[in-house]
């Protein structure tokens, strides 16, 4: 029995080795097809890609089996699991660590490669071979990375009876699904990358090929959006700091690819419509993948201080940096040498093209400001040795001002027509929604805030609502003939409006107070008062809990009861805070309780976070918009 179990891990390990060989073979076929073209090349590379995926899947399932059964003969399971952990966290324990998460990355990458191999929509076999070839090169590099620096199947010769457990903060449903979603997004960018390179490598520009980029970019984008939102939601309720975005390097690492892929979606749209921006689209697709690798590098190298949890190892960082350099420089070289196509098309200033051009300029500028803020500490430390950090204030001063004109143009854009717009109707439409937004934002927010940004942000969110609503209203007569991707666009824009609504509430109308209170004492927060009624101690599953029971009242009227918890995990010797959150429809009362005792009381911090739910709800709506667009006929044809 013992021997059989041991054997299974060898199979897991060997499966990955076979998968990496298959990807190497595919790379060989890809390289060879430049010299000789045999009709069976395309069948060959497709089959290698499909079989490769099954080997990766086998390896993944074996590792998952080890986690579920707490097989402590694997180092990885010892370090990241424990027999008392609930099943869902045993499963998610696989990607709660470096080795496992790279295996997950490889699984998604080879699954996408499998899907491309299976695709019947790609007519040109030359194009198909090139796309699969590039996918396989990336796959091969990552397999090598896994096998040489982060082997998940490394064995523990002397298996202990119990594991070290998983960081309690990560034992959370929100975080169980956050990494896979984000990874689907990151890896999806590799597909856009491969398609872009394949377009670039061809002798002449096949404009039809740009259509293949769109569905994959939409998929990437929808998953990145929901992955980031899920992470932010987790940080909000689990870290107990009452915030949802901290401009931490790791967060920035996911925001940058998101911004680039947003730009990419808009840029492809122009290329599809009238063949413009195609060079730019290719560049964006290349940089999209670079940024997703940069994100992995930042997270995995540990070079930057982050408040988030990751084990780090410099050699791994160097390896990813090499992949990053290769996958940015080589494509840029190809781009520089091969790209001599230039087609002059008519261009009009008052057109959707200009709107989308500005969209891209603003998105890229904002990405660059984030990049500077994220890497500056690293650069300065290397040069001068002084350790610095760039805080939220930097991003508020750079990122936010760029977003103001961005949103205004976003509100404009639906009224602009392709190539030409009648100026009169444009002006009339804009005047209507600007005025409507002006009046209603005063009614809604009343603007009893001193922050100029607060006023602007509230106004912009309402402006965007009206822009989307007005566009919809104008199309009412021909709703049925509107393609699904148009609805997708409207829904995604609506999502951003909802998100901004949440930002306005949470950032500029938030109330907070903290004090040390004993049982039956009260802490006031805005119009509400929160009374500590009781504190109880429990022992549950794998942790001990100290739970405070709070009663919320508003002007003597009972509103609700909530509990806030301090948990102690004996295995990991760690405490976590479970914030007590009282849910109104859109707003929250958020309570955290620190250490304390009966005599002196407990330090309690309470926040009133108006409209805070709109943040995640908005992001969710945005992702739905992306999926709707993906499902439209125009995009489905190219999957």
């Amino acid at each position: 029995m013992e021997g059989e179990i041991e054997l299974i891990y060898e199979i897991g390990h060997i499966s990955i080795i076979i998968a990496s060989f298959l990807s190497l073979l595919s790379t060989g076929v890809f390289a060879f097809h430049f010299f000789r073209e045999y009709y069976f090349f395309s069948t060959l590379i497709k089959n290698f890609s499909k079989i490769g995926f099954f080997f990766v899947l086998i390896s993944f399932l074996i590792l998952e089996y080890a986690f579920i059964n707490s097989e402590f003969s694997l180092d990885l399971v010892v370090n990241n699991s424990h027999t008392t952990k609930p099943l869902i966290y045993k499963i998610s324990g696989l990607w709660g660590n470096h080795e496992g998460s790279i295996l997950l990355w490889i699984l998604i990458l080879s699954f996408f490669t499998y899907l491309i191999a299976k695709s019947k929509s790609i007519k040109s076999s030359q194009f198909h071979i090139t796309v699969l070839g590039i996918q396989n090169i990336i796959l091969f590099l990552f397999c090598i990375f896994l096998l040489f620096t982060s082997n998940p199947f490394s064995r523990n010769i002397d298996p202990p009876l119990e594991g070290f457990g998983l960081n309690p903060l990560l034992q959370d449903p929100g975080l169980a699904f956050h990494p896979p979603m984000l990874y689907i997004g990151y890896v999806g960018l590799s597909v856009s990358f491969s398609f872009a390179i394949a377009i670039l490598l061809n002798k002449k520009v096949e404009f039809d090929w740009f259509n293949y980029l769109k569905p994959w970019t939409l998929l990437t984008w929808a998953f990145l959006t929901s992955g980031i939102a899920l992470g932010s939601w987790w940080a909000y309720y689990e870290l107990g700091w009452g915030g949802w975005w901290f401009w931490d390097p790791v967060e920035n690492a996911s925001l940058m690819p998101w911004l680039i892929s947003t730009a990419l979606i808009h840029s492809i749209t122009v290329t599809q419509k009238n063949n413009q921006f195609y060079n730019w689209t290719i560049l964006l697709a290349i940089f999209g993948f670079s940024f997703s690798l940069l994100g992995t590098f930042i997270v995995r190298s540990g070079l930057l201080t982050s408040v988030h949890a990751f084990a780090s190892d410099p050699t791994r960082g160097v390896f990813i940096l090499i992949i990053l350099a290769l996958s940015t420089l080589i494509p840029l070289l190809i781009y520089g040498f091969k790209n001599t196509h230039r087609i002059d098309t008519k261009y009009f200033i008052f057109s959707k093209e200009t709107g989308l051009l500005l969209n891209n300029i603003f998105l890229i500028t904002s990405t660059i400001t984030i990049l500077i803020g994220t890497l500056y500490p690293l650069i300065l430390e290397t040069i001068t040795g002084s350790k610095i950090s760039v805080g939220a204030a930097y991003y508020n001063a750079t990122f936010s001002p760029i977003m103001i004109p961005f949103i205004i143009i976003m509100a404009f854009a639906p009224f602009l027509g392709w190539t030409k717009t009648p100026k009169k109707s444009l002006l009339r439409n804009m005047l209507i929604i600007f005025t409507l937004a002006f009046v209603s934002s005063f009614i809604i927010f009343k603007f009893n805030t001193t922050s100029v940004f607060g006023i602007i942000c509230g106004y912009l969110s309402i402006l965007l609502f009206f822009s989307v609503g007005f566009t919809f209203f104008k199309k009412l007569q021909n709703l049925k003939t509107l393609p699904l991707n148009y609805y997708g666009m409207l829904v995604a824009h609506l999502g951003l409006a909802i998100f901004l609504f949440g930002v306005t509430g949470e950032q500029f109308f938030k109330k907070e107070s903290s004090s040390q209170i004993k049982i039956n004492e009260v802490i006031a927060i805005g119009d509400y008062s929160v009374k500590l009624e009781n504190v109880k101690n429990f022992k549950i599953d794998n942790y001990l809990s100290e739970t405070g029971l709070f009663k919320i009242t508003k002007a003597e009227n009972f509103v609700g009861k909530i509990k806030s918890e301090q948990r102690f995990y004996p295995v990991e010797k760690t405490k976590t805070t479970e914030a007590g959150i009282f849910n109104f429809i859109l707003s929250d009362i958020y309570i955290t309780m620190g250490e304390g005792n009966l005599k002196e009381g407990w330090v309690v911090k309470a926040y009133f976070n108006p409209l805070v739910k709109c943040l995640w709800f908005g992001a969710f709506i945005m992702a739905i918009g992306g999926i709707l667009s993906l499902l439209s006929k125009a995009n489905r044809r190219y999957i």
Binding site: N167, L169, L239, G240, G302, T305, S306, V307, H308, A309, F310, A311, D313, P314, D344, K346, Y347, I349, L357, I361, F362, T365, I368, T369, I372, G373, Y376, S386, K387, I388, S389, V390, G391, A393, Y394, A397, T398, P401, I402, S514, S515, Q516, Q566, T574, K575, T576, T577, T592, G594, E595, E600, V603, K605
Partner: protein, 148 residues
Amino acid sequence: MKPKSQRLIILFFFLTLLGLSTFLVLKSLEDNIVYFYSPTDINKKILSNEIDLSKRIRIGGLVKENSILKEGKKISFKIHDGIDEILVIYNGILPDLFREEQGIVALGKIENKNFSAIEILAKHDENYMPKEVSDMLKKNGKWKGKLN
């Protein structure tokens, strides 16, 4: 309009935007950089009056044993880097991972030769040690954890 002049307009617009954002970036980098010091460094700077008391800084180190004092919401404790130490005063809830001999980073200002913190961070990472602190301890030869 001719395509050429159109292109010029777009280019001009882009350059203006680029200039503006470069200005914003540089300006806010200048204002918002927060320097990090070890207790040894900061005490030297205080002695030689080199420190700008109005500017926020970060300090980091290990929480000294038996130095944590609580008076209601006000908490004070010492952090050390194996060589020197400094008193930190803080009003608020300590992070979950705060404990003796734990590496922490505090954000705040120097007041009366003590450090008045507005934020205390203890990293929730698998090794429970902020990078600045582990680098500092390695430099001082006081690092007890795994060697990379």
